[in-house]
Symmetry: C2
Subunit: 261 residues, 2 copies
Amino acid sequence: MDANNPQAIRRAIRSGQHKGNTSGLARGFVQANLAILPSDWAADFLLFCQLNPKPCPLVGVASNPGDFQIDSLGADLDIRTDVPRYRVFENGECVNEVEDIQALWRDDLVTFALGCSFSFEEALLADGLEIRNITEGVNVPMYRTNIACKPAGRFSGDMVVSMRPMKPADAIRAIQICSRFPSVHGAPVHFGDPAAIGIQNIDAPDFGDAVSIRDGEVPVFWACGVTPQVVLEQSRPPFCITHSPGHMLVTDLPNSKLSVF
Amino acid sequence: MDANNPQAIRRAIRSGQHKGNTSGLARGFVQANLAILPSDWAADFLLFCQLNPKPCPLVGVASNPGDFQIDSLGADLDIRTDVPRYRVFENGECVNEVEDIQALWRDDLVTFALGCSFSFEEALLADGLEIRNITEGVNVPMYRTNIACKPAGRFSGDMVVSMRPMKPADAIRAIQICSRFPSVHGAPVHFGDPAAIGIQNIDAPDFGDAVSIRDGEVPVFWACGVTPQVVLEQSRPPFCITHSPGHMLVTDLPNSKLSVF
């Protein structure tokens, strides 16, 4: 497959040719977190995203229950087949991990696509900044915090953040760059003291891998797309489907189109 | 005088009716740092400002040597009379402080007007952020650093910074707001550890007054308009004139016009 062509990547995933994660694929194009919910839970989740745009930035929503297409993200896109790996939840617990959800599809399912940090990491790299988790070849470290999301209906929970260590001058530049991309988590939510947002041990992330923090660097924290998954687990809808971490929906939307100035 | 009308304020200063500093006057309008140099030093200084836009952001330059007007800053403006207090330097040393420079004016003098932090402080306050030096009713603390300015001809020196303590989330918002105003120092240059930029004692500023830093706050450092005065002292042009600290040139330029987006 052509690793820089989003349609070719989706075709390879759809046919079972590509089963791995999507990190590094389709550079320049938006990859999305996925949340699929029954329609009687969808209005609450839409409001939750609206109220919490930093952890839950919507880049696409299916127009109607049962739709498995989101035209704005790719004309040929099929939500049921175009993600390499899905997680299936019942009452907030992951009960299965599958490569295709055609057999699980229902006419009442509403699909939400949320922006992901790959887009802003690309913008930071393009500006010459170092991303430690990329340098060290590991997953970005992610932490549960005590920053409460704004509740919406049956959905509530605390924010999950990702962390990238930087020198202060680089952090200032990163804040400027990320502010241009509110649809992919936007500016950081915190820097410096981890305890100030309820993180007890920076070397023991709740998700992903630890990275080294060098002399003169401070940890910089971004709202993270894992937040909605944690909120879904806590809020226990009877049924929902998400992507598996790192196995994202590759879209036709250029990252540059998300820039607000 | 009408304290919100820049022309009225300049008239009051010109007539000797207002002799004090200009802090809090003409809210919404740009106030400028002033540097006046003989023409054979002007090209070097212009280049210095061009190379160091954060400490030396030009908001106006007189079109020709000897001009005491800068139309873009105010049609009636007279550089020789419209600043409440001037400092006169010979060979880098302050030899006099005067309220009028008509008697000192020369046909070879070139006037530079540089943006000042009053403009971005106003934008921060308008967004609901606290400015500690304003809350505590003192001058902003300023420090010499080891951040070298880029040299230009006979001009060189280290950057002076101003400091405002903030919680990290407020600092992130301040970085966003100040990034919109590159003509008045723009985004901060550093936050956190003072020693990283050569500041030994945060409680003993080199200029201005100390302010309290509360639990959970970090010092945030902006490039400061005192930098060119320190550079002028070090570079020792035979003659130059600046405003006295806090006694700025009040212009007709709305702060909002400096916003780049």
